[in-house]
């Protein structure tokens, strides 16, 4: 392993700092700059995707058609999902990875800095291509984010743009993932052995493997959509010997690991934050690592539980049902470990910890509804109803999004050198935690009563819960502006209180990033640290 960073610069010697002006952000290879780009971009997408969700909830506030036509409504559900998954949650975690992994493992930068820059701009290009479809003849894709044929093949001018957007996003993710794997395997400080790595690093290592394995699969699936539409192939057309269900199999072979791409780094951040505020080591560090790996492995062999009602052979239904139930075991290990970490800890409840505790509780609810739906015969009732909408929003919003908020509060003082406003932070938490339940909990009832998903209008018996859900949605949406305010305020100086190096009490015992100044200099760990903290283990 290397000792120091080379400062090769042909034209300007001793240029250690960032480029002046806006061009800095275009041509940067610095992991902190690129991390910031990813995080800012994902925050913007979070609000754009959120605005789409507000349109959906406004239309569903009352029965009947209020604001938008059904085609546009379906475009909104599709684009909301695609923007949130590929534009907000995934890039936010890549941003955290960029910022934190080199600092957590004592590396000078990411292993492949130029490719790092490219993976960010590919993401921007992909999202721009996707967003452009909103203004096209025939509207944006309206088939749902799963892009099932034959429905998706009826999309207008938007179809090839949406498909190429998926290709670009895939290239971006693969490049980002390769970079993360190379960084973790090749750039660790000598003392940072694999089983001393913070769990955020471990979960990202495994997530990166998932990404490299699945993004090409999605690319292949949408390529077949493209050729079916424009080049006369019959992959998904039974008349030519193909099968539309084949698309669903390929999509979910991608899609199931994909949802774990969004949840595994979530687990990693939670496992990083909870021990610090419980002032205890993480309970069962190695079991957390093995549980993450088990979940990742299982994610590849359970995909067809998304298609129980499609008409599979019974043997397939049974296999996918039992395999899916197995996931509850490693996930249960994790929830147990987080709880045991807090047990008898001397806990304090700063905003990052509040979001993390809410994550443990609310993610468990989302996990249990997942278990309910893994039972194939029961799923015939739940399938494509609001129950599934409630389920996956519980695993994404009060889980991934809450943990992203927690990560923001946890590391903002490190990134900016300023403390955020704790009172507004707590207000943001309580408004979010209450309204998210008002928003999504009633959707369980709607689903069990039979309200289908992806419809702009509904029967009057669903009116009350929809109205409550929409009210929760509006409160949740507005509350997130507080987060935006806090981020901007903290960058500008926050409370005026300067953050210490370790920010949180004894945090330097848990992670290398807290041994650095706040904010850290442009280049960190140009020489690897001699010792690494082990309190998190």
């Amino acid at each position: 392993m290397s000792a120091v960073v080379a400062e090769h610069e042909h034209d300007e010697h001793h240029d250690h700092g960032p480029q002046k002006g806006l061009l800095r952000w275009v041509i940067t290879t610095n992991h902190k700059d690129i991390g910031t780009l990813y995080l800012v971009f994902s925050l913007a997408m979070f609000f754009i995707g959120g605005a789409m969700a507000m349109i959906i909830r406004a239309e569903l506030f009352e029965p009947g058609m209020q604001f938008v036509d059904p085609q546009f409504f379906n475009s909104m559900t599709t684009m909301h999902a695609l923007v949130m998954v590929f534009g907000a949650v995934m890039p936010a975690f890549v941003g955290l990875a960029n910022w934190m992994i080199p600092m957590m493992i004592g590396a000078p930068d990411m292993a492949l800095p130029r490719m790092n820059n490219m993976s960010f701009w590919m993401l921007v290009a992909g999202v721009l291509l996707l967003a452009s479809t909103l203004f096209m003849e025939g509207g944006a894709p309206a088939s749902g984010w799963t892009l099932y044929p034959p429905l998706v093949l009826q999309t207008g001018a938007a179809l090839p743009f949406a498909i190429f957007s998926v290709h670009l996003l895939g290239i971006s993710s693969i490049m980002g993932a390769i970079n993360i794997i190379a960084t973790i395997f090749n750039m660790r400080a000598p003392a940072m052995t694999l089983m001393k790595m913070p769990l955020f690093v471990w979960t990202w290592l495994i997530t990166a493997f998932l990404l490299i394995a699945i993004m090409p699969v999605f690319a292949g699936a949408v390529t077949m959509l493209l050729t079916d539409r424009f080049f006369d192939t019959s992959f998904f057309d039974a008349a030519g010997g193909g099968d539309p269900v084949l698309y669903q199999h390929i999509f979910w072979f991608f899609g199931h690991p994909e949802v774990y791409v969004m949840i595994l780094p979530t687990f990693g951040v939670a496992s990083t934050i909870i021990p610090v505020f419980a002032r205890k080591p993480l309970f069962g560090y190695s079991s957390m690592v093995y549980a993450t790996a088990s979940i990742a492995f299982l994610s590849f062999i359970v995909w067809a539980h998304h298609m129980f009602t499609v008409g599979m052979p019974v043997a397939g239904e049974l296999y996918f049902m039992y395999a899916t139930m197995l996931i509850a075991i490693p996930t249960g290990v994790k929830v147990f470990n987080w709880t045991a970490t807090m047990w008898k800890g001397s806990m304090t409840f700063e905003t990052p910890m509040l979001f993390s505790i809410a994550f443990v509780v609310l993610f468990t609810i989302g996990g249990f509804t997942g278990l309910m739906m893994s039972i194939a015969p029961s799923d015939f009732q739940y399938h494509d109803t609001y129950f599934i909408v409630a389920h996956f929003h519980y695993t994404l919003v009060p889980a991934s999004v809450f943990i992203l908020m927690a990560a923001g509060y946890y590391w903002l003082p490190k990134w900016t050198g300023n403390m955020y406003n704790e009172r507004i932070g707590k207000l943001h938490f309580w408004l979010s935690a209450v309204s998210v339940n008002i928003l999504f909990f009633p959707q369980h009832f709607l689903g069990l009563a039979g309200m289908p998903r992806r419809i702009p209008d509904y029967a009057v018996q669903f009116a009350d819960w929809n109205m409550i859900s929409s009210i929760g949605g509006f409160i949740f949406g507005i509350s997130q502006l507080l987060f935006l305010y806090i981020v901007i305020d903290t960058i500008k100086g926050g409370t005026g209180e300067k953050a210490t190096d370790e920010v949180w009490e004894d945090a330097h015992k848990h992670g290398l990033e807290w041994t650095l100044p706040s904010p850290p200099p442009y280049h960190t760990f140009t020489t690897p640290p001699a010792t690494v903290p082990t309190e998190h283990i």
């Binding site: 392993m1 290397s2 000792a3 960073v5 080379a6 090769h8 610069e9 240029d15 480029q19 275009v26 041509i27 940067t28 290879t29 000078p108 292993a111 492949l112 800095p113 130029r114 820059n117 490219m118 590919m122 290009a125 721009l128 291509l129 090839p160 190429f164 290709h167 670009l168 693969i174 390769i178 794997i181 190379a182 395997f185 090749n186 490299i212 993004m215 090409p216 699969v217 292949g220 077949m224 050729t227 080049f231 006369d232 192939t233 019959s234 992959f235 039974a238 008349a239 030519g240 010997g241 193909g242 099968d243 269900v245 084949l246 199999h249 390929i250 008409g311 599979m312 052979p313 280049h523």
Partner: protein, 287 residues
Amino acid sequence: MSTNNAYYVPHKATWPVVGTAGLVIMLAGFANHLNGSPMGSAWMILGLVVFIIMLTGWFTLQAGESESGMYNTQVGISYRMGMMWFIFSEIMFFGVFFGTLWYTRNLSVPWLGGEGIGQATKELLWPSFDAVWPTNGPANVGGEFEPMGAWGLPFLNTLILLTSGVTCTWAHHGLLAKKRDQLIKGLVATVALGFLFVACQAYEYHEAYSEMGLTLGSGIYGSTFFMLTGFHGFHVCVGAIILSVVLFRSWRGHFKPENHFAFEAAAWYWHFVDVVWLGLFVFVYLM
């Protein structure tokens, strides 16, 4: 190999944004072209040109840096890991199309013929369909066609690619033993065999379209045949171009026995393409 013990971190990178711009212009142009816009193909070509300029510029930069000893062993490991995981992603990409072939041959086509869960499908939709591979489906999509045999040109192509794998390794031994002559000859042979393979494949496609009635539109058989062999052929082209660059660099005196990542990466890629072909020969042509 440099004596430099530092991990090289470049400070500015302009090629990534250029490449991204090229790619997005190319894809947006292609999408417009597919939608029937007359200017689409022009934009597509412009984007491709920008993308090729980026590749040339970026790789020239990297080759120069490598030759001037800026990359130490650790940087080399990052590059090797990057290439290995890139090839893994390619394996998954081909896996989709092999999986599609497997699924249609073993599940969905038999179901269309009335097996298992397909009983009602057959009776209600296409009672006269006889599910035998190769097929263009119950609606006889694309009309009558003749399937591609294995023992003519495809077998010759197998021999060509396998030989090119041997010549590539022979060139590598030449590089390691500092036998420059062997290195150059081996690479010339590999590149020539690679392009010969592509030429044979082009001839095979021509035969399929003009003589056998076998097209991309020939139902699921035509779809899987051309998708798998087409993507593979594209990868052979890319691999041969990469090897040409490696040949050019070898001719210019680049690479040392202990430091020749570009050669290794090209060779790995070439062997990967080779193995994919063996899979194609067995599952597409032979079975």
